[in-house]
Amino acid sequence: MNYFETDLTQLHDQLVNKEISSVELTQATLANIKKTETNVNAFITVNDDAALAQAKAVDDKGIDATNLFSGIPIAIKDNILTKDILTTAGSKMLSNFKPVFDATATEKLYGQDAIMIGKTNMDEFAMGSTTETSYFNATKNAWDYTKVPGGSSGGSASAVASGEVLAALGTDTGGSIRQPAAFNGIVGLKPTYGRVSRWGLIAFGSSLDQIGQFTRTVRDNAAVLNIIAGHDQRDQTSSQREVPDYTANLTGDIKGMKIALPKEYLGEGISKEVKETILNAAKQFEAMGATVEEVSLPHSKYGVAAYYIIASSEASSNLQRFDGIRYGYRAKDAKNLNDLYVKSRTEGFGDEVKRRIMLGTFSLSAGSYDAFFKKAAQVRTLIVQDFQRVFEKYDLIMGPTTPTVAFNLGAKVEDPAEMYMNDVLTIPVNFAGLPGMSINAGFSEGLPVGMHLIAKHFDEASIYKAAYAFEQATQLFKQIPQVGGQK
């Protein structure tokens, strides 16, 4: 079976009413994944046997009528730890790594009796915008197999968009949930920094990383956040703030909501079709009783430059731990310990990871720190202040998620600087730690155009409220991929 014409609530009802068992659902899901994978390559590991065993245990215990996730298969990005199940972060470095504990987010899904159906493909260590830097081959866009799915969470996005699963976890450091959600026409949310515990997430840029989720619908998305959000003493940046019920205010009523549309988000480098789609979405919001006004985020254009210093610096520090000693890839024939470090890292990391480690090491090195790392951290402050000014008057910021729709596989691999511009619209949100969502707003050349919705810290509820109203009015989520393009 595929998940194109159902949602969490419907499936849950079928499970509760015993129209289908969790084992049957898991078997059908696995069969469909097997068929679909030859086209999309969204998974690194399909968790066949363990998933079926888990489903059987849930059936034996009985589906919990009060728990939406009981017996429902969910996919997890391969940089989120799953005990005893291969977790590679898309890298040769961890191609044989089986974690000895679960990430908090994994633990929480297991706690709901969700079925862990498999680990999704990603750019190596989440560094990339196309899933092409994965050691395990590129994932394809669910709408067109010649296009990139976005990245780094391209596997999770493509798995949901191609109907392999109803929901998948991803991670977002500079746009890695929102950009692939946009390219695949689904709902992807990066929660506020601190909303979801990062315990058990393989670190990339620790001041930016956040776990979030992909779904087909807004309500399902809110339901997943309800489960994975919350305080965790094992992550000292995790917030003690109470977790509201994110599904509570999905009324479709957004009268009086104040929405800001930054002029920079529709400026240079944004394709004409993307711009038109977003302006139409703005009209839709106005027609539903919201106000949309133009604002300015003057420093957002410096986000990419500052990001590649800050994220790479944090990465060069975080990735020091991969040394070939305690776990992960170890090179053969090392002459001495130093040689072992250098060879293991040189052979274990791919080119994009090396580029970022090099850039980060350079930015933090003596003589460069003030000019690069500190300068970037100061520009980050200005970007944060831009948002603060806008949120004094507005509830939400809207814009496109990406400058263009999905591009051809291989098109930008050799030009990192151009590749990085993909994230120009999403990066500032990570800098400020704000919640951001991408939701499908229409199509251009048969490919989805993502709308980006940004709210104040810990105000995911406003994003969900607006996104739900938009989704119900446009019914775009009912469009499903037809290979060769959507009319």
Partner: protein, 103 residues
Amino acid sequence: MAETELTQDDVKHVAQLAMLTFEEQKLEHFTTQLDDILNLVETLNEVDTTDVPATFTVTENVNVLRTDTANNTHQGSELLANAPEAENGLIKVPAIIDESEEA
């Protein structure tokens, strides 16, 4: 931030700091790509950051403390299962100083 022109020697030096090594032909390619990235990064020079504080984190938490309690979560054997080489409950590594090399 001054105009930086990255040389292959710079890249070799940074590679050494990062515990990486590059073959000669790859070094040239990498130097060009890194130089392109640094050119992109240098647009930050346009921004006046005089007296602007730096932001290193956006967490609202300050000094998070917890009780330091001992627990017995992982067994040695469990942790060693991921080690590339292990012997007698210990991780095996090559000699720290290669004695066959001249000092």
